[in-house]
Symmetry: C2
Subunit: 234 residues, 2 copies
């Protein structure tokens, strides 16, 4: 079979919105674009991503995992596709498509210090649906969609649990929900919802502090979120 298409294929990229909660803020991992003269947006901050490598990547998801591993060393985070975008003008080099994923990194797995001094990779706090940096390409729009997807799903899923360390208390989990959603939740309703859903396994340990110790939990299933029948109210 030969040349099945009379037109040139668009460029195929994958971009990954890598999210974690650091210092009480939702943060996204950014990388610097190379500085070469023939590079688009030289030196600008961007979402980690790049070309699909048809020699290395078995699938789009593998490609996203590869890019994630390259930047963070993490190989099995929560990963979900946000969607794909394509058009003639989103990359100055020509008609291009990108497949966008978002990943949630546990708070204790973050490979870089927040606000660290690396010049080519950094965490940046998400404010609303934006970051302070001017992002390359249509990455502000891609980031917006990823954040909207995350916030929408946090209303009725256990997604924030994937941002937690292996062991955590209910109060800590609630803080995680609140940071991602950007608003406070009611304690009793939160605890009832979480406990009756049955996705948390109580440990025979407690978290000690200068106050009453708190029950520690861990996730029963580290790969799939659970869905609640309602959203949180307002």
């Amino acid at each position: 079979m030969v040349n099945p298409n009379p037109f040139p294929y668009p460029m195929s990229m994958v971009d990954v919105v890598i999210l974690s909660v650091l210092e009480g803020e939702l943060q996204v991992l950014l990388v610097r674009r190379p500085a070469g003269e023939r590079e688009p947006f030289p030196g600008a901050w961007a979402l980690p991503g790049g070309f699909v490598d048809t020699a290395k990547d078995q699938s789009l998801e593998h490609c996203a995992l590869r890019k994630l591993k390259e930047k963070t060393g993490i190989s099995s985070p929560y990963l979900e596709q946000v969607g794909s975008w394509g058009g003639a003008h989103r990359d100055p080099r020509g008609w291009s498509t990108t497949h966008v994923y978002f990943a949630l990194l546990p708070i204790d797995a973050s490979p870089l210090q927040p606000g660290g001094n690396a010049t080519d990779i950094r965490w940046s706090a998400v404010n609303g649906e934006k970051v302070r940096e001017k992002l390359a390409f249509d990455h502000p729009m891609l980031l917006k969609h990823a954040i909207q997807r995350l916030r929408a799903k946090v209303e009725y899923t256990s997604l924030p649990a994937f941002l937690m360390p292996r062991e955590f208390t209910l109060t800590e989990l609630q803080r995680m929900y609140e940071v991602v959603l950007g608003r406070e939740l009611e304690k009793k309703a939160f605890r009832t919802r979480m406990l009756s859903a049955g996705f948390l396994e109580p440990l025979s340990k407690q978290k000690e502090g200068s106050n009453r110790p708190a029950q520690l939990f861990r996730l029963r299933d580290r790969s799939n979120p659970i869905f609640f029948a309602r959203t949180f109210g307002r």
Copy 2:
């Protein structure tokens, strides 16, 4: 800027899962693959779709709309992206990606007779997440994901309203929900939910029949679904 990528780009396709409810069943539009010798899956049934045309298509969504228009003549249905899939083996011609959309056609806009005698295009009833025909490529999987997405969203959105004709009664809307979900809903709860959501505009007309006339409604907004705070229970 020259050859930004040392690897060949994968093929870029768009496939559209075009859905309507005909004869009380959820149906999907299928097209026959061409019969040429160098064609993959010659003569097999498949989802309508094909190569992104970088000369004609401004974006992936325009590409999906173009394919929809070509097959159905419809130009502004409800259209939503399901996601994208890519890999080395899903098309025998090589590494390929496809961007999958689903479209909801109003019951009164369907261009073909259900079960019509056209040999290259037909409606086929969705059973579970499958059709009777053996579909080309990984289209059974793509169809499955589209149906799952639709059914999941029907639980907490007004999506089935986009399958209705311009004017309809609440009972007719409830039948539409039931056909898509494949189960019955409770009348009172359904009516309360629909009416209190405020997305239906009552008309000064009623639907006459050999029984008590029913209030007719139309959609206030023909382009965006609304989201309910809960799913339907079980």
